[in-house]
Symmetry: C2
Subunit: 206 residues, 2 copies
């Protein structure tokens, strides 16, 4: 039985628990969408096909995920969460335990791979893609932490954004697919950018 106070002051509460049928349908829809992506590619994920595949009505898909972009975002969110766990508590050098500079390089490389792997999905997710608020804010927060560990001075908020920006999917796709630059060269370029930003000479105490 729920605490009666929770019922009376719902605004102070967690939003009320999701109804069981709703939860079941959400899982079924995510599973159906993931399967469609796997088997037929992102373009085959229409709201109708996902609904049919999950055995629910179309309205339900929109109720759960608001829009196609929202559905794609939810799909992305799963791997984003796994990745964040690796950064927070996975093995070094991505996870804790390695020197900050190594973690920083591993962070960038790993993010590039993640964004390229999910390029189609990120594109389909639009605003809900890699620039969703939670994804951006986690990455930026971690980046600021690593930069401060390295003694970088300046506007860490902006510097984090600036180092993250070339890891965005649109930029990576341009470089690796349009300009046909090997991924390793892109990584090396980013490493050089990092070197310049953390360079001791430009971070002299004022």
């Amino acid at each position: 039985m729920l605490d009666p106070l929770s019922r009376q002051l719902p605004l102070l509460d967690q939003p009320p628990r999701e109804r069981s049928d709703a939860a079941r349908n959400r899982e079924a829809l995510l599973a159906a969408a993931a399967r469609l992506v796997e088997e037929q590619g992102v373009d085959a994920v229409t709201m109708d096909s996902v609904a049919t595949e999950a055995g629910v009505g179309k309205g339900t898909v929109f109720r759960r995920f608001d829009s196609r972009e929202g559905l794609m975002g939810a799909l992305l969110n799963r791997s984003e969460t796994e990745w964040q766990a690796l950064v927070i508590s996975g093995p070094p050098p991505l996870g804790p335990g390695a020197p900050a500079i190594e973690r920083l390089h591993a962070f960038g490389h790993s993010r590039m791979e993640l964004n390229l792997t999910h390029a189609e999905l990120i594109r389909a997710a639009g605003r809900a893609g890699s620039r969703s608020y939670s994804a951006v804010s986690f990455a930026a927060m971690h980046m600021r932490y690593l930069l401060s560990e390295l003694g970088v001075r300046g506007d860490l908020h902006f510097l984090a954004t600036a180092l993250l920006a070339p890891l965005e999917m649109v930029v990576l796709v341009q470089q690796t697919r349009v300009d046909a630059i090997p991924l390793d060269s892109v990584k090396a370029g980013w490493d050089d950018l990092v070197r310049r930003v953390v360079c001791p000479e430009v971070n002299r105490p004022v």
Copy 2:
């Protein structure tokens, strides 16, 4: 009369001149689209309304611009071209005549303003937006030129991309609209990034 050779070897030729009615319709469509954007915002620019407004059929809009994104891209292309002209031959510090470092700062600031001004249009243009090949390659080329003038060593191709990336609309919108950072702070942050990249100590001859 055309050179007979041109008729016989069309592959060596410029693509045949656009038919006069086609050219007229293209202008009418661009004008109609620009007017709709101006008066009612980007969302009001549906392919039907543009066609009606220009007094042509819907199929004609698609024939000329392939897609809604293509139409938006064509609209953007006009201001992009004007901007490129300013960079190439406009007044300093954006145009030639100022020291390279000042031109670089002006370049970044100007690009930010341009991208923010056209944020809606760029979003609606999707792939045809600010990352269209011609826009990206012009900006990158100019950036490489300025960096080389400044004696920057390293992978100029990547460094140009890295300095351009934080000027992308999605990043700027995140910073100025979501995080509510004043544009001047963003500019200052970018200036600092530039300082680090062109810093003499990190560009010592090997």
